[in-house]
């Protein structure tokens, strides 16, 4: 199966002296759920921003469908790749529906408003994350977890081929974390969605993720099926913690640190 997103020898740094991403090459397979894991500050969020086209690599190339990301007009790219940042601080009390409708902006001509079809798409996206009941609420009144679900709905309203999520479960409770993962699995199976998810919730990866990339200090340390990467040896090296332990129980990989 061909990759949808590729990084070729990508290097990136915010300052001239400290490289954050160092020669990373990887391929994100289409119609797969892939997880990107690593210790704090290892470059996960930077790498996902590079894939979203929000940053440009200093060296190397990011490809989408075998074409350089920069060869796409930004609005065309937004129809193909959706990105959900770690946090979406909202200063103004927009309604949830208004926020989700912004996901339709790549499809809306400059001097037109979203139409009834866009509204339907937005409501469908809210229903997909089980948040349709929030449509009329102000986002400033929502909990962090609810806001995160709204951000995911906004990304789904873009009808992307590829969804990039930066720690989407950080503000979610146990029930909503599981629901989000179920939603991603359903979208992969039913609609062929590709998702790359930055996560610290290692116990949510196996199952249902198909692939795991492990970063360490800006380099790709390991990749493979979850059971190949989520091992004592690999995770010990990724987190520089010799006390990390993993065990497979009933088809799941449990992970903890002693």
């Amino acid at each position: 199966m061909s990759p949808i997103l590729e990084a070729h020898e990508v290097e990136f740094s915010y300052t001239a002296t400290t490289p954050v991403i160092r020669g990373v090459s990887l391929q994100v397979e289409r119609r797969k759920l892939s997880a990107l894991v690593g210790a704090n500050g290892c470059g996960k969020s930077t790498l996902i921003r590079l894939f979203a086209g929000l940053l440009d690599p200093v060296r190397g190339a990011i490809l989408f469908e075998h074409a350089r990301l920069r060869s796409f007009a930004r609005r065309d790219l937004a129809k193909r790749i959706a990105y959900v940042p770690q946090a979406t601080p909202l200063a103004f009390p927009f309604t949830v529906l208004e926020v989700v409708l912004t996901g339709r902006s790549p499809y809306t001509p400059r001097f037109r408003f979203e139409d009834a079809r866009d509204r339907e798409r937005a409501m469908e996206a809210l229903a997909t994350v089980d948040a349709a009941h929030l449509a009329a609420r102000r986002v400033t009144e929502l909990s962090g977890g609810e806001r995160q679900m709204v951000a995911v709905a906004r990304a789904l309203a873009q009808e992307p081929q590829c969804l990039l999520l930066d720690e989407p479960s950080a503000a979610l409770d146990l029930k909503h974390r599981a629901a989000l993962i179920r939603t991603l699995t359903r979208l992969r199976d039913a609609q062929g969605l590709t998702a790359l998810v930055v996560t610290h919730d290692l116990h949510l990866i196996d199952p249902p993720f198909d692939h795991v990339f492990a970063l360490r200090q800006g380099r790709l340390l390991a990749e493979g099926r979850p059971e190949e990467v989520l091992t004592d040896a690999v995770l010990g090296e990724v987190y520089e913690d010799p006390h990390v332990r993993t065990r497979r129980v009933d088809g799941r990989t449990l992970i903890w640190s002693n």
Binding site: A78, T102, P106
Partner: protein
């Protein structure tokens, strides 16, 4: 029957906002023309040359000047709030007006009243000062990809303090006639004779308004967050630069003509939001119309409140805007630490 969608609702809301605010603007303009001077008497205007001169050379230009300055400050305030994702941002609180004031003071002190290619140098100087201020404030408030709201406002306060000190220093070192000119200008006034200045302002302001309205979709997305806007196809850096430039132009030119009139850019966008919702594609054109109506009303109050004494219009806007700012600050602290 086809179901009415959000788009139709938003379009309806836009047209309703434009219709209501245009009616309000016309009503207040007529009221200002009637109550701001002698009562309007069309027969007298036709027959009495003195009444005609007073009306067309003083009264009508003053109302037009209030409308231009109010529109520009309000639409710039709405744009800056969205750009900085801060409901407390506006030209005065961000130091943009202060920067413009320094630029204009330098021009006045150096006697650069003359025109460059037909454009008063004081406009250009005000624009440059405003550009520097908005650039400094933005640079200080930015931490990586984040804009720190507290740092933004503090930087604005400090830029304003520096600007006030600089204007005072300029007054101190310049000769007394020019110092007096600066002082009269700082107090701010909408007094104008004839339409010459107004035509020249329009040369700058109309392109600025059009450019900001054309960017209303980008501003609507930027208000959702910089990364979100970028992921939705907005050229964030390019837009930021364009909005800096346009707001500096609008504020610089209005400050150069009318002095520093604060809080119009704070009060008006919030009033439009309360009435017509948060969508920037409605808030921007709405602010343009309501800003004009608001400053016409404020000037009318300044004119008649303590008749025959005339208050500076900036004092009226500050007396209304200050409490509104404090109320917004109090409300904001409920859900977001500064």
């Amino acid at each position: 029957m086809q179901k009415r969608g959000q788009g139709e609702a938003t379009t309806t809301r836009l047209w309703r906002a434009l219709a209501l605010l245009t009616a309000l603007l016309v009503l207040l303009a007529l009221l200002a023309l009637w109550a701001g001077g002698r009562p309007l008497n069309f027969a007298e205007l036709r027959s009495d040359p003195m009444a005609r001169t007073l009306f067309f050379r003083l009264l009508l230009p003053r109302v037009a000047m209030a409308a231009l300055i109010g529109s520009s400050l309000a639409v710039a305030g709405a744009a800056l709030q969205a750009l900085f994702r801060n409901p407390l941002a506006e030209p005065a609180t961000l130091g943009v007006s202060g920067g413009g004031a320094v630029g204009a003071s330098v021009a006045i002190a150096l006697g650069w009243g003359t025109r460059f290619s037909g454009v008063p140098v004081v406009f250009i100087a005000g624009f440059c000062g405003a550009m520097v201020a908005v650039g400094v404030v933005h640079r200080i408030a930015r931490s990586g990809s984040l804009l720190l709201p507290g740092a933004l406002l503090l930087a604005g306060v400090v830029v304003n303090l520096i600007a006030s000190a600089a204007v005072l220093a300029i007054q101190y070192v310049t000769d007394s006639a020019r110092a007096l000119e600066i002082l009269r200008w700082i107090i701010g006034s909408l007094e104008v004779i004839g339409f010459d200045t107004i035509w020249r302002m329009l040369l700058f302001l109309v392109p600025g308004w059009i450019a900001l309205l054309a960017l209303s979709r980008e501003l609507h997305l930027l208000a959702m967050g910089e990364e979100t806007a970028g992921a939705l196809g907005v050229h964030v850096e390019r837009c930021e630069k364009a909005i800096h430039l346009i707001c500096s132009l609008l504020v610089g030119v209005t400050v150069a003509v009318g002095g520093a009139i604060g809080f119009v850019g704070l009060i008006v966008p919030h009033a439009v939001r309360l009435l017509f919702g948060e969508d920037l594609r409605i808030v921007l054109p709405g602010s343009l119309l309501m800003g004009a109506a608001f400053l016409i009303a404020a000037d009318l109050v300044a004119h008649i409140a303590l008749d025959p004494i005339e208050l500076p219009v900036g004092a009226v806007t500050a007396l209304i805007g200050g409490p509104v700012f404090l109320w917004l600050l109090h409300r904001r602290q409920r859900y977001s630490a500064l």
